[in-house]
Symmetry: none
Subunit: 205 residues, 4 copies
DNA sequence: CTGTAAGCGAGACGGTACGTCTAGTCTTTTA
DNA sequence: TAAAAGACTAGACGTACCGTCTCGCTTACAG
């Protein structure tokens, strides 16, 4: 029992963390340099100095690699910050953070590529949604509930909370992903105010 | 105009409409059968009986073909219907129409594929947005303005109108395209009511 | 007749003779430079400037290519020359020609490689034997019969003629292919004289 | 010398005879099952349960392994048997033994594979000839001399004896290895009689 | 009877070539 | 002269083995 699960304690070399990192970084770089179509396993192998066979040993496809880089990079970038100040300002800041993440950050480009591929391939869609997106949605729901509680406006049921979240995140995603335009600060501020006002009114009568 | 510019009146056979239709249909079929990755120019040529060279003569890529099928199929599917009844119901119906189009119709699948590819490729993004999406946005803005006027709530400036449109369409697109879930009727109804209430209040209050 | 067989008269480009020649020459060169194991389809493609896909369109494997180069190069190298002089000398010359072909000529190296591969792979063995080797054996049997007829010693049945041929060619092939030594002129002369003497004696005595 | 050089008396375990046997047997089996190309070090390792590293510690390549199996199996299979009876019959029996060995026995398949590889690779050729083939040739020359002495026809010099041996073995090897046909009993009998007659005549007449 | 110097099974690693696929371009014949 | 047929170069795909390496375990001689 002392050894643990047995399989993990087998003899022989372990997975090379160096190679793993090199692959993730090469994939990230190549995605930004050449775009999704120009991102190839061949290219990742060359850039990273990791053999193709090794890449295929640990990842099924280039999309699988991108899912890993996203998991590695995006968790913290979209974390809520509850500073104890004005809850409304906190909410504005969080939505702004989402806009900035998608529009400007490297990991945002990874997410956009994965969202795009999810629209092509149901398997990718499932993996992305059950992995990163589900986790992020949990964080978002919890964050939003915390804000609303401080405003004494938390809705009773989860569905209403989720609907509120979608009214906040939907418009900015729509602009960013469909219309291809970055929402400006005023758009975000008005959006948050409008949604919160409606939420408060619905709760209070 | 009937005389043509010379190039149209040149010798030899004109572009084969038969071939054009065959290509568009084959592309549509293959997209539904095999998905975006399984859609190849090679496959379209085989299925349609049109030679590859002929396809490349008239279209730059498979994406170019899909843009054509979308232009052909989607224009009417998303048209606003102003029946003269309750403007709010009209708006609900229009948003429902968008949901149904994206989630259920074949042309909606084409649009999803193109939106997905637009997230990978800036050129596609530009062509899609300057073409189909810009035209549809015009129709949507006009339709929304018409509804709001009947409610005496039309905003003064275009930016506010556009923001309102995004608050209506954003959440359903977010659910459909990002979360991969089809919004139900209650979600749409609540959304429209909420957004309209806010709009009315901002105008009047 | 004017229509032809239909398939032959189809539209489109024909097989590129340039590419075919380039492949055969590259294969020949690389076999001599790098040996059989170092001969790769990849390498032939690079050296010849012909795309891999084109090579695989016309040949199944590198062995298939070598069979083609052998057919192209070896037919004449092993042809019998009946000059009308001394039949015994003619026979000696022919056996010497075989020795020289295998030991010195480029096409001989191709044949050695194919014989080697035939010992590994029954399919290659069958193709080599039913193709080049069967044709060459026909030529050899006819040549030998012609020589023996001039010596009034042609055996009655084909089996005896074939046995005689094997007694002439067997020892030199054994030395060349198994022992890896080139038989010298004396060995060949003594061999031919010995075999012919036995043949004459069997017929006359 | 008896004390050993120190290296032999070092600490640690000795070479595992179990592993050695398992490798040789696995190689033999796989050669027969899958042919030379299908024989891989990877496969031998799996089949034998011996780690690849251990194989490479003791053998340079799969060919090296086959050379070992040949040495182990073939020495006795081609031994001459001098029973004291008719020397001619003895010679016929020995040639028949060679035919049977190459055409039917497992070790004969190993030898054919090695001969085939020797035609591809000079290093293999050298090792095969300086090892197994040289030893066997010694045995063959001695055996043949013994037979001829009993017939009072032993040639004076080694070259003539070697030439005689090649005239006996050459034709059957030619049929077996080049033409891919097994010589029948009559062919062998006639061959031996013919060659011996010539030898006797050359010595006496 | 303990340390230490292997041998061993397991398997990850960087490579090379495989044979297949599709992209786009180019060439030939038919209508 | 457009369209079909399809050969061509180019290059990525995912797989199979190569030969090398590292790991943790197990001998078995040496001090």
């Amino acid at each position: 029992m002392s050894g643990g699960s047995g399989r993990a304690n087998r003899a022989g070399p372990r997975r090379s963390e160096t190679a793993r990192q090199a692959v993730l970084e090469a994939a990230d770089d190549l995605l930004l340099e050449r775009g999704f179509a120009g991102l190839t396993v061949e290219g990742i192998a060359q850039r990273s100095g990791v053999a193709k066979q090794t890449i295929y040993r640990w990842w099924k496809s280039k999309v699988d690699i991108l899912l890993d880089t996203l998991a590695e990079d995006a968790e913290t970038a979209l974390a809520w910050e509850h500073g104890g100040g004005d809850p409304v300002e906190e909410l504005v800041a969080q939505v702004q953070r989402v806009v900035h993440f998608i529009a400007e950050e490297a990991a945002g480009q990874v997410m956009k590529s994965l969202l795009g591929h999810a629209l092509h391939d149901p398997v990718t869609a499932r993996r992305l949604r059950e992995g990163f997106l589900a986790a992020q949605r949990e964080r978002d729901l919890a964050g939003l509930r915390h804000v609303l509680e401080r405003l004494h406006s938390a809705p009773a049921d989860d569905a209403a909370l989720a609907a509120l979240l979608d009214r906040l995140l939907g418009p900015v995603h729509y602009r960013l992903l469909v219309l291809g335009a970055k929402p400006d600060a005023a758009f975000v501020r008005d959006l948050v105010n409008g949604v919160l006002a409606a939420a408060v009114r619905e709760r209070t009568g």
